[in-house]
């Protein structure tokens, strides 16, 4: 516990601040938005929560806003995806909140270093998208291959180390963001339409392609390519057999030896540099990396491909050692996270918020139309950091939420043959 002020020791300044927040809330409320502003618990002021995650959602702006709204100190650490798994497993006391992906969760949950959340304490649980409950985007949609978030979202009790097949009152992680990933391209340097995953290994781009070196994600991109080429038929891309892994890696090793790849990347900024410098013209990429390249004034497209998308989701989980006031603060923080402001920020980076309705309240109609509904922008689209990203009239690559998320073919995954896959992946990297 780090110096919480007593609940009733309100300074004049706090009162003024809170007063203006209420006034603002009343103004917003008059436009028929319900439930705002929430008065956040006051006894958690100055509690420090240590959170780590990948660079994509560990943004200082979130820590600043959390300080303003909740008074908590959020200490953020940005790590690469593999390092996030290491952190949970090897340094369980070094964090309070883990901002990790669902496939990472599948790997680390059995370690017992995280504790599930009591759903009855989550204010916005009913606003969370179906993908993170029963797995269905719409009542009629089919569930894609791989580690779909809902398969690892529920557990049986506060001390359980396994996953529950059906919905329970114990949530392993509160979902925050998800997205449909595809290949990023530099249309100015390619100069022709790209519409299939096979293009990643097209000899036309010899020495100008890249794939990410995070095995659980990279193998899925590789599988999308091999399947599109018709070279490998998979029973389930999200849970490959040894033979399927061998075939996939053989095709990629051959391409690597032929000089297809310029580099492999591991962190988001590496992919930005490769693309922005023109070293690479086609590669695995993440949405905010595209945003970043575009705000540098370079054309970069998150190319929708006919075979569909590879998807992922991330959320916030609690460390096992959290208790007492800090645990309360963590719940409060997570409720705040889902209340919309953060969702709006993440949506403006090209992600989807796991609680879209609340995020909508923090975006303009034009922004919502552009990012979520796939409509043409009426005004310039500005990224969360104030840079102009798209001129008026632009349409999001891939279109609306349903067109993109409805076309997901697999989720990032951890397979039964994970250990074998990792070994083969390492051999590919070293080949």
């Amino acid at each position: 516990m780090k110096n919480p002020t007593t609940p009733n020791s309100l300074s004049r300044r706090d009162l003024l601040k809170r007063g203006s927040a209420v006034a603002l809330g009343a103004a917003v409320g008059s436009q028929a938005i319900t439930g705002f502003p929430t008065i956040w618990a006051q006894n958690i002021k100055n509690v420090t929560l240590r959170q780590f995650g990948t660079g994509v959602s560990n943004i200082n702006a979130i820590a600043q806003k959390a300080k303003e709204d909740l008074g908590i100190n959020l200490e953020l650490t940005a790590l690469d995806t593999d390092a996030t798994a290491q952190r949970v497993v090897t340094q369980p006391k070094s964090f309070d909140i883990a901002d990790i992906e669902y496939f990472t969760l599948k790997k680390v949950w059995p370690s017992g270093n995280m504790q599930p959340m009591d759903i009855s304490k989550l204010k916005y649980f009913d606003k969370i998208a179906g993908t993170f409950k029963d797995g269905k985007l719409t009542p009629s949609s089919t569930i894609a291959q791989g580690t779909a978030p809902h398969t690892v979202s529920f557990t049986d009790g506060p001390n359980s180390k396994s996953f529950s097949k059906s919905m329970t009152n114990w949530y392993t992680m509160v979902p925050t963001i998800y997205n449909a990933d595809t290949l990023g391209i530099r249309p100015d340097l390619i100069g022709r339409p790209i519409n299939s995953w096979t293009e990643l290994l097209n000899p036309e781009f010899k020495g100008k392609a890249s794939i990410l070196n995070i095995s659980s994600i990279g193998i899925m991109d590789a599988a999308m390519v091999c399947e599109a080429m018709g070279e490998v038929q998979y029973g389930d891309k999200g849970n490959m057999t040894k033979e399927e892994i061998d075939k996939t890696m053989a095709i990629f090793t051959e391409a690597k030896k032929a000089g297809q790849f310029r580099a492999f990347w591991k962190t988001f900024d590496e992919s930005v540099n490769l693309m922005a410098s023109g070293e690479v013209v086609i590669q695995s990429m993440w949405s905010p990396a595209i945003t970043k390249v575009r705000s540098m004034g370079l054309p970069c497209v998150y190319q929708p491909l006919k075979e569909g998308y590879r998807s992922w989701g991330g959320g916030l989980g609690l460390a096992r050692n959290l208790s007492g006031l800090e645990l309360d603060a963590a719940y409060e923080y997570i409720n705040w996270y889902l209340s919309g402001w953060v969702g709006g920020l993440l949506m403006r980076q090209g992600y989807y918020s796991a609680a879209p309705e609340t995020s909508k309240l923090h975006m303009s109609d034009d922004e919502w139309g552009f990012w979520y509904e796939g409509k043409a922008a009426k005004n310039d689209i500005i990224d969360p950091f104030g840079n102009k990203m798209e001129p008026a009239g632009a349409v999001r690559d891939g279109g609306s939420f349903l067109e993109r998320m409805g076309n997901v073919k697999c989720w990032n995954s951890v397979m039964d043959e994970n250990r074998y896959m990792v070994r083969k992946w390492n051999e590919f990297i070293a080949a």
Binding site: A85, K107, F261, R262, A263, E279, R419, I429, A430
Partner: protein, 284 residues
């Protein structure tokens, strides 16, 4: 001479034993123990299995990776030796005042005021496809297409190594050269030796300890490196260090520990071979 009491001897050797015990023996012992443990996707646990070693030594990739690492170490050694010897020779024999020797020597160390990651990364925009060097060559009409081998290649890796580690050669060789009695060189010249004979018969033999120390530095640093190979190789070149780092990032600690033990053995053998060539104890 008085015989010292056992207690005072014990007190005298205890600081170094404690330091070596905590920072050398203990960590290496831990690695050795962990290398026999077993692991699954998310944790590793005490056991006594040989699978980590059989996986490591039974895989072709390991041998290829070692060959690759030797190749980097060999090339880097050769380049740093040529650069280091030349610079040290110039400083020791062509600069006649101590003041200037110190000034120029300090200039050599300037790059070391920055982090080695920064020194490495600064090569990337310089050597890239649309980088400064390629743009310059193209604008003066020397080449039509950018030279791709400059970046994310063995070339860029060795270049960065030489840049990072040349000083480790310069310093010990310079030190050895400064200890050479100048009258030996005069005697060689008086005896009719030409420049080349003077170099090969007098200077090089007397610099051997410096060369050996520099070589040990450079070779061990390159053998254990992972970040240079990863950054300058664009993540798709392998070295033993990169292989271990991949395993660590995938939580395969026992496998990485086994590789670390093998690497330690290999490097110890290499160093002992170097000590064979130069008897450091005698020369110092």
């Amino acid at each position: 001479m008085n015989r010292q009491s056992p207690l005072s001897t014990l007190l005298q050797i205890s600081p170094i034993s404690l330091i070596l015990g905590f920072f050398l023996v203990l960590p290496i012992g831990t690695i050795l123990i962990v290398s026999f443990w077993d692991y699954n996707d998310f944790s590793f646990f005490p056991d006594f299995v040989w699978t980590n070693y059989s996986d490591a030594l039974g895989s072709n990739v390991t041998y290829k990776t070692y060959l690759n690492t030797f190749w980097y170490a060999g090339l880097t050694w050769l380049c740093t030796f040529l650069v280091g010897f030349t610079v040290a020779y110039f400083l020791a024999f062509h600069i006649h005042t101590t003041r200037w020797q110190i000034v120029l020597f300090l200039i050599c160390t300037i790059p070391f005021w920055t982090s080695n990651i920064i020194r490495m990364i600064s090569w990337i925009p310089f050597l890239g496809r649309n980088g400064v060097f390629n743009t310059m060559l193209q604008s003066i009409g020397l080449i039509d297409e950018p030279l791709e081998f400059l970046l994310f290649s063995d070339f860029s890796i060795v270049l960065a190594f030489v840049h990072l580690y040349a000083l480790f050669m310069v310093v010990p060789i310079f030190n050895s050269m400064m200890r050479i009695d100048r009258s030996l060189i005069e005697a060689a010249i008086d005896g009719g030796a030409n420049g080349w004979q003077m170099l090969t018969n007098v200077v090089i033999p007397l610099c051997k300890p410096g060369i050996a120390i520099g070589s040990i530095f450079v070779v061990t640093l390159v053998m254990g490196d992972y970040i240079t190979v990863r950054l300058m190789g664009g993540g798709q070149r392998a070295s033993v260090g990169v292989m271990m780092w991949n395993e660590i990032s995938l939580l395969l600690y026992p496998a990485a520990a086994a590789h670390a033990v093998v690497l330690l053995a290999v490097v110890l053998i290499m160093v002992s071979l170097m000590m064979r060539v130069v008897d450091l104890k005698k020369e110092l």
